[in-house]
């Protein structure tokens, strides 16, 4: 499962290839914006943040709205962007309130595993508004996407090092 994220789809439109194209596009954009050789730590830190956001965004966009976590991540990006532009963003809180009932039910059912499920909810974007069943589903897909992300980024880094 880890080796073939594109098992169901056409190879040319697989998750991996979509992510790659998007991420590389974002990287070129970031490179173009910044003055290229600036060793100051703050600059590098800014670039790091941008690249990280670009990486997560590219993955979320590659998954589109097919998964709860990707939808949550995309809405988070959008709300953050709108917050930067000065408008109020209250998107995050609307989902959580209505789902508290189911979360309590789950707690009574699986008493000993509350801690872990809560931790998992924190890790997986959009996890607060999911019941345990969906949470496990989303976690599996999220792990798959994260490994793809790591794989691709690692190869890019290695390639950069090699071509030095």
């Amino acid at each position: 499962m880890m080796n073939t994220p594109q098992q169901v789809k056409n190879p040319s439109t697989s998750l991996k290839s979509r992510f790659i194209t998007r991420f590389l596009g974002a990287l070129t954009k970031i490179n173009a914006e910044d003055p290229i050789s600036s060793p100051s730590p703050t600059r590098i830190f800014q670039r790091y943040r941008r690249i990280k956001v670009a990486s997560n965004k590219s993955m979320a966009y590659s998954v589109r709205s097919r998964r709860i976590w990707s939808r949550a991540m995309l809405s988070r990006f959008r709300s953050r962007r709108s917050a930067f532009s000065g408008r109020r963003s209250s998107v995050k809180t609307t989902n959580c309130t209505t789902i508290n009932v189911t979360i309590n039910e789950n707690k009574t059912a699986k008493g000993g595993l509350d801690m872990q499920t809560d931790e998992l909810r924190e890790l997986v974007p959009g996890g607060e508004a999911m019941d345990v069943c969906n949470l496990l589903d989303e976690t599996a897909h999220y792990i798959k996407c994260l490994t793809t992300q790591v794989q691709v980024m690692r190869k890019i880094v290695d390639f950069c090092h090699l071509s030095k």
């Binding site: 880890m2 000993g112 890790l123 890019i156 880094v157």
Partner: protein, 360 residues
């Protein structure tokens, strides 16, 4: 005509040696019921045994619990009358096996017509006997017990899904208790299925059970995804592993983006050629075999570096959600410095790559 056809059909299914005597019991007054028996599969999506028979709940439970019903086939018909009077629930170990066989049979009977079920059943003797017994039973017992009205039939149709779950699960159970069966009888006419041994039969626990099974199935999938989780037993530990894995993956993404931030300036992205052969490659990084060999000597150093890394990242990444927070500047400035110093030499570059490989 139809009624005759109905009776003949049931008669052909019942291969009783004293066929004539059985037929004597099946007078024309029971043909209505037999009609319903045969036309029943059209109404619902079949599956379970009792649904096919469209029997009133009481009859089904009693019929299935009676050992004499098996004897009916071997012995002559007059035994049926003896049976008629005694609707009790003997605690028989033989019944347990019959229960198991019955459940297996009805598990197989999904989406099949009543008639097509009969060839299946003949492969299993006791279940075949049961079926014949049950089929002949309604003819006899209908007079003693009231006919079912439609609402209960509909209730049964609604509960069909639950019944399937119960029946399929009953083969796993090994505990025996007549109390459970008595419970079933007391809850009639709404509960009309055999429940698992030692399990309650109300809808809440059914839903709970279904939920738990779903969750367990998904946990198994997750165990396959996360490396090293197969050997662990116990949901809590597996969940811990999964959480660790997700955290490490997120940290890796951050680490790699940090590396990209420092390395990037020197490249131009003509990488399409790079990635098309890689689309099928595995995670081992098979495209860079040259980096694997220097793994030997930097072991100690790499571990130390990684610990330092983790120590610096620990505070930030473990306790706080990664997505929404504002990063603390101080830690990352020191990290960047160490990264820069490492990046200055070619050896350290390979060190980096090796460390990444070892992380997995």
């Amino acid at each position: 005509m139809e009624s005759n056809a109905g009776t003949t059909e049931t008669r052909s299914n019942v291969t009783v040696p004293d066929g004539g005597e059985v037929a004597a019991f099946e007078s024309l007054q029971f043909t209505d019921e037999i009609h319903r028996l045969i036309s029943a599969p059209a109404t619902d999506n079949a599956s379970s045994f009792t649904a096919l028979l469209e029997l009133p709940a009481t009859q089904v439970v009693e019929l299935l619990h009676s050992p004499e019903s098996v004897k009916l086939i071997v012995a002559s018909a007059p035994n049926v009358e003896d049976f008629k009077g005694s609707f009790h629930f003997p605690s028989n170990t033989g019944l347990i096996q019959k229960d198991a066989r019955f459940s297996v049979f009805s598990g197989e009977g999904n989406n099949k017509n009543e008639k097509s079920n009969s060839p299946e059943m003949t492969s299993k003797n006791s279940s075949a006997n049961l079926e014949k017994a049950v089929k002949s039973e309604p003819a006899e017992t209908a007079s003693s017990l009231p006919l079912v009205s439609d609402p209960t039939v509909e209730n049964r149709n609604i509960k069909r899904k639950d019944r399937e779950k119960k029946v399929k699960g009953s083969t796993k159970k090994s505990k025996t208790a007549t109390n459970e069966r008595l419970e079933d009888a007391e809850k009639l006419p709404y509960v009309h299925v055999r429940a698992r041994r030692g399990q309650a039969t109300d809808s809440h626990s059914l839903a709970e059970r279904a939920r738990r099974e779903k969750i367990n199935a998904r946990m198994k999938l997750l165990q396959e995804l996360v490396p090293g989780c197969n050997k662990i037993s116990g949901t809590a530990l597996v969940l811990d592993e999964i959480i660790n894995h997700v955290q490490s993956l997120q940290r890796q993404v951050e680490f790699l983006s940090m590396r990209l931030a420092t390395v990037n300036p020197r490249i131009d992205f003509n990488l399409d050629s790079l990635f098309t052969p890689e689309s099928g490659s595995t995670m081992d990084g098979g495209n860079f075999p040259s980096l694997v060999t220097p793994l030997m000597w930097p072991d100690v150093q790499v571990n130390g570096y990684r610990q330092q890394f983790q120590h610096q990242w620990h505070f930030d990444t473990l306790k706080q959600p990664i997505w929404g927070r504002e990063e603390v500047c101080n830690n990352y400035v020191t990290l960047e410095n160490s990264l820069l110093s490492y990046d200055s030499s070619a050896n350290s570059a390979t060190l980096h790559a090796n460390q990444l490989k070892m992380e997995l």
